[in-house]
């Protein structure tokens, strides 16, 4: 069917009356006989889906970024509710920029922050701690027993005397490094958060909560008072904020891509149409996402960009055909039908192939990547309607500007005259089919690839920067975090082992001993700054109960003493174990969250668990479950990512190779198509090392998308080249022709795709920026690799006549053949599976 369409019955028809409306396939007739219906349907769909799109929720769910089927993560999720102390609190540091905390003005400001925070819904008021909260107390051992009181003197009046009393109380309370910074220039408010908003009874919305903090707390910042806020909820809030600003980037991407299209077509009308339809495709996608229950999260927000870019680049090729038909004098309605006739099936095949390419990502068992795969597939499916149906129908009404059509034809006929420096390079590309250049290029590629693969060895798994890896190192959140980390004791990288016992058995001496031993082992592990656990707290409290004697820094075998210590620990440090005393965290604070550190800590914990988990049926079971805490989750994620990358390579390259084999029916051509991709993959990894980007959930799909989109270039170029070669053209001629037919499309696709993603590089969300940089690199480098390496490799692999130099100019027959094949060849850019048909129909 495809061959027929290309060869027969597409004469230039200037008048609509001369056109046989009953020609073409039944589907074409159905569409074009109901043009109004198609347009109305699409408009309606855009309005309806647009309505749903506005209701699309923006969210940042951390659970979606973690591999939920990892046994570690299962442990975490199963015990999450029992570990309230982990992260679900907000820490606000109020800094005196012009002095220390013993300053009445500062203390007044602190009180204001304290009281404002106290009233924000979601704060667990009973456990909120700060210098102004009465539950922060000092204690002192005296001969009579324990003396104590609130740190803030009850008769505080800002006088020198009461500030002196406060200073003494802070010393006696031992809260320096904890609630008061080491340099005494700031103090901290720690507020645990409730799960539900008490005003609405709904789960606490971190986005709203974070906004409240910004508007009510951060606004209290001044020249004198600095405010630093960290906490899981703030991080989520900042991520959501980041998402909104990324949405704005979409506008920039649209403008850049629009410009590229305009420079290619020189037709404002069709550029606007293309961009409009591509945007409509995105609207459909967003609407469908809402209906299907997806959220816009930091990952899925990338899908609209990709879909827009794919829509634009593929749509441009369609435009190309119509431009030339109209340029030659065909009526716009007829031109639209011709285009539909030529491209519907090949376009459908291409899009289906793209869907397969993205769907491969589903095998990676991380929800965000799965969602990314599914939503992108949905998006590409949407393109079938917008690109394959709506564009031809819309063009049949609108047509293109005559000037643009003339230019398109002139460009083709003028051939390669009138070119500047770039044109010169363009012209020189076919020199790569000749032995000296081919050899040089291949040798150079080998060297670059070799260097790349050496550098690649240093690629680290996971995140490499301190602070919250989701955000940039210089983001407000991470600066706040760095301030707090450097002025207060503990790092923000927590690795948590969950200890499960029977109810009320966390207090038992054997349980505590084994917790203590793991904590001790972790403490000795390089990269662990310190540990915090019930066992260690029991040691401290036991000593405290013995008048602070260091000789009692122990877990007493006397269960009565240990019970008292556990009770006291549960009162003084809520979250040190759960209410039932059955789920107890051991927290290791890590110096960083580099993969090496995580792996080491993970191994120590894992080995310990293996050795010490009690046998099934034990009377008092003690079980060590890995892992929780941000570092624990990251460790588990790293494992999945490391496993995932191999699966991903096998799947993506396997699928691509199969696709190439089906298309070319030649292993040589497949090799020629794949080698540039492999090279890009290697260099991309080297680039990651140079840019300090780790292999992680965000960068994993980049490689798949890069390969999937990258192979398009090879398909475009090689299909034409092979077709001409099969007709007897020499390699040089074939490649030149292939460049002329599809080279510009390749360049345009590369540029529009890059335009779609380059704006992410400015995203406030770190991993999005990483993705943007890498994808831009891959889209562009794949394009270059295809243009340069394919001729060079073809010289060795696809050059049956040897280094033939005959026929640099085409004979008349060839020239005519060129006219014939021009459009089909350009369309071949899409013709993936159907490509082998080309040579046959060309004759």
């Amino acid at each position: 069917m495809v061959e027929q369409k290309f060869n027969s019955g597409m004469p230039v028809i200037a008048k609509l009356e001369d056109f046989d409306k009953s020609s073409g396939g039944w589907f074409e007739r159905v569409i074009f006989h109901n043009r109004v219906l198609v347009v109305v349907f699409c408009l309606l769909a855009t309005v309806v889906l647009g309505f749903f799109a506005t209701k699309l929720e923006v969210n940042a769910s951390f659970e979606k970024m973690i591999p939920s089927s990892s046994p570690y993560i299962k442990n975490y999720l199963a015990n999450k509710d029992q570990l309230p102390g982990l992260g679900n609190s907000i820490r606000i540091v109020v800094e005196n920029k012009t002095g220390d905390i013993y300053d009445p003005e500062y203390l007044l400001a602190l009180q204001k922050v304290n009281d404002t925070l106290y009233l924000i819904p979601g704060i667990d008021r009973s456990w909120m701690k700060s210098l102004w909260m009465p539950i922060v107390r000092w204690k002192e051992v005296t001969e009579e027993g324990i003396d104590g009181g609130a740190v803030m003197p009850s008769d505080y009046d800002g006088s020198e005397k009461s500030i002196k009393a406060l200073r003494r109380n802070i010393m006696r309370a031992g809260i320096t490094g904890n609630l008061v910074s080491n340099d005494s220039k700031s103090s901290m408010i720690v507020a645990p958060l409730l799960d539900t908003n008490p005003q609405t009874g709904k789960p606490l919305d971190y986005g709203d909560f974070s906004k409240e903090l910004e508007s009510k707390i951060r606004s209290l910042e001044s020249d004198k008072i600095g405010i630093h806020i960290v906490g899981f909820s703030k991080l989520v809030g900042d991520l959501i904020d980041g998402l909104y600003s990324v949405m704005l980037f979409f506008g920039a991407s649209v403008v850049i891509a629009g410009l590229f299209v305009y420079f290619y077509t020189r037709c404002l009308r069709s550029t606007l149409l293309l961009v409009g339809v591509a945007v409509a495709g995105v609207v459909w996608l967003l609407g469908l996402m809402q209906i299907l229950g997806y959220n816009l999260d930091p990952y899925s927000i990338l899908v609209p960009f990709l879909i827009f870019a794919i829509g634009i680049s593929h749509g441009t090729q369609k435009m190309n055909g119509i431009l030339q038909d109209i340029g030659r004098g065909t009526h716009k309605y007829v031109a639209a039908r011709y285009t539909f006739r030529r491209l519907f099936l090949t376009g459908l095949t291409a899009l289906l192939t793209n869907i397969v390419g993205f769907a491969v990502l589903v095998i990676i068992d991380i929800p965000v990547i799965r969602d990314l795969a599914l939503t992108t597939s949905i998006g590409v499916a949407v393109l079938i309607f917008t690109k394959l149906l709506l564009i031809p129908v819309a063009l049949s009404y609108l047509g293109v500007s005559e000037k643009a059509a003339r230019i398109a034809i002139a460009k083709d006929q003028a051939g390669e005259a009138n070119r500047g420096f770039l044109g010169h390079i363009w012209h020189g590309l076919d020199r790569f089919t000749e032995r000296p250049m081919a050899t040089a290029v291949i040798a150079l590629s080998l060297v670059v690839t070799l260097i790349g693969s050496l550098v690649m060895m240093h690629l680290k798994v996971g995140d490499l920067d301190p602070g919250a890896p989701e955000l940039r190192a210089d983001s407000r959140y991470n600066r706040d975090n760095a301030y707090i980390t450097s002025n207060y004791g503990l790092s923000s990288d927590q690795f948590v082992v969950i200890v499960k016992t029977n109810e009320d058995s966390c207090r038992l001496y054997p349980s505590l001993q084994s917790m203590d031993k793991l904590a001790w082992k972790l403490r000795q592990t390089p990269g662990v700054q310190t540990t915090q656990s019930l066992a260690e707290t029991v040691r401290m409290i036991s000593s405290g109960m013995a008048e602070g004697s260091p000789k009692w820094l122990s877990i007493s075998r006397d269960q009565a003493i240990t019970n008292s210590a556990v009770d006291a620990a549960m009162i003084s440090s809520p979250g040190i174990t759960n209410q039932q005393c059955s789920t107890t965290p051991i927290i290791a604070y890590l110096a960083d969250h580099k993969a090496d550190t995580l792996t080491r800590v993970l191994k120590v914990s894992e080995d310990f668990a293996k050795e010490n988990n009690s046998a099934p049926g034990a009377e008092q079971p003690v079980e060590f479950l890995l892992a929780a805490g941000n570092a624990g989750i990251e460790a588990a994620t790293n494992i999945e990512v490391e496993k995932g990358i191999i699966t991903m390579y096998l799947a993506v390259y396997g699928a691509t190779a199969l696709l190439c084999l089906l298309t070319f029916r030649s292993w040589r051509a497949t090799v020629v198509a794949l080698i540039p991709l492999l090279m890009t993959t290697v260099i991309c990894k080297a680039l990651m090392v140079w840019l300090g980007i780790g292999l992680k959930v965000a960068t994993l799909p980049v490689i798949a998308v890069g390969v999937g989109v990258g192979v398009d270039y090879a398909l475009y170029l090689l299909s034409v080249q092979l077709a001409v070669q099969e007709r007897g053209g020499s390699l040089a001629v074939a490649y030149r022709r292939s460049l002329d037919f599809t080279g510009r499309v390749v360049a345009l696709v590369g540029l529009t795709m890059a335009a779609g993603v380059i704006t992410w590089a400015w995203s406030p969300i770190k991993f999005q920026a990483d993705m943007g940089i890498l994808l831009t690199f891959m889209f562009l480098w794949n394009m270059l690799g295809a243009l340069i390496l394919i001729p060079a490799l073809s010289h060795y692999l696809l050059n049956p006549k040897g280094n033939s130099k005959e026929g640099v100019t085409l004979d008349l027959e060839d020239a005519r053949a060129q006219q014939e094949t021009r459009k089909p060849a350009a369309d071949a850019a899409h013709t993936l599976l159907t490509e082998p048909a080309l040579p046959r129909r060309a004759r």
Partner: protein, 377 residues
Amino acid sequence: MISQSLVRPNRSIAQLFSATVISLLLVSPGLVHAANAAIDPLNEQSQHLEAPLAAPLIGVARAGSVLVGVGLHGLIQRSADNGKTWQQVSSPVSSDFTQVRFSDANNGWIVGHDSVVLHSTDAGATWAVQLDGRKLLTLLNDTYGKRAEQGDEAAADMVQEVSRAMGTSATPDVMPAPLLDVLFDANGHGFAVGAFGMIVRSDDAGKTWQPWIERADNDRRMHLYGLAQRDGIFYISGEQGLVLRLDTRLPADQQRFVKLDTPYTGTYFGVTALDHLLVAYGLRGNLFVSRDDGAQWQQLNTELSSSLVSIIEQGNALIVVSQGGQLVSIDRDSLQVTPLADARVGEVYAASATETAGSLVITRFSGAKVIDIAQAN
């Protein structure tokens, strides 16, 4: 109810946490004695740590040219260069240690939780267990049991007391209380003392031990924190102003510790016995001296606010080290107190002299550190 028992709840526990009683009731004996082949520090060697050693160190002592520090999790570490560098020494148990003492350049003892006593005859290079909570329990039951069978009522009470103490032990075969100090004289006579009034005596450098709990004026079984010895006369310090002196005028088999009256009611963490000078020190910088072997006491104002942990002889001066890291010097003759420069090292657990005059080694949560004694400005 509180008195006369090895299970006397710690006074401060009772004051601090009324929850104690509740939790005592909550925990049934079945729970307490859960047989679990779990981790027991008595059954495990200490874990080898990465150098540099930065783990909690509780006690430190000097043996000739060698320093030995002991800490949590069975940590024993040695230094041959006055505390600059330390090497870990393996320990047969991983119990938490509380004290290390040497009677000469080679013979040393470590005591700690789980009632362990470790002995070294080679200046701390190797250590062997002499006593632990298991052996102690057997010793107490055998000794007092035998005497009780012979009709000794006091011994029968002791059997009862031991049984009550074991009621709250997490492990039914191990005495649950810690030993807090150990001291031997040059002839191999010595004592180890601990929580709930524990006293054990050895006359053969720790090879065999006899329980001495009832041979002290400590009916309320106060924790005994410190030991001192001068010319074969031993002193013990403890809670609630308790200072005991071994009465050596009695025949050997009737000797006992008699109480010395002191003007203080808080805890004495340590006692030091010198020529014509007995020093008892404890909570909140409290320090008392006696020139007449404990009959008359005089308080010296150290102006220190935290507990005193060690006293070190430096020539004619006594260097007093507080838990808060402050130091003062006391002239042995004039009893003049001179403040010294704050060591600024955070919380200090113990201190010892080194071979270098004017230089001390202190132990902390983060390990040992050498500090120089300097006059405060």
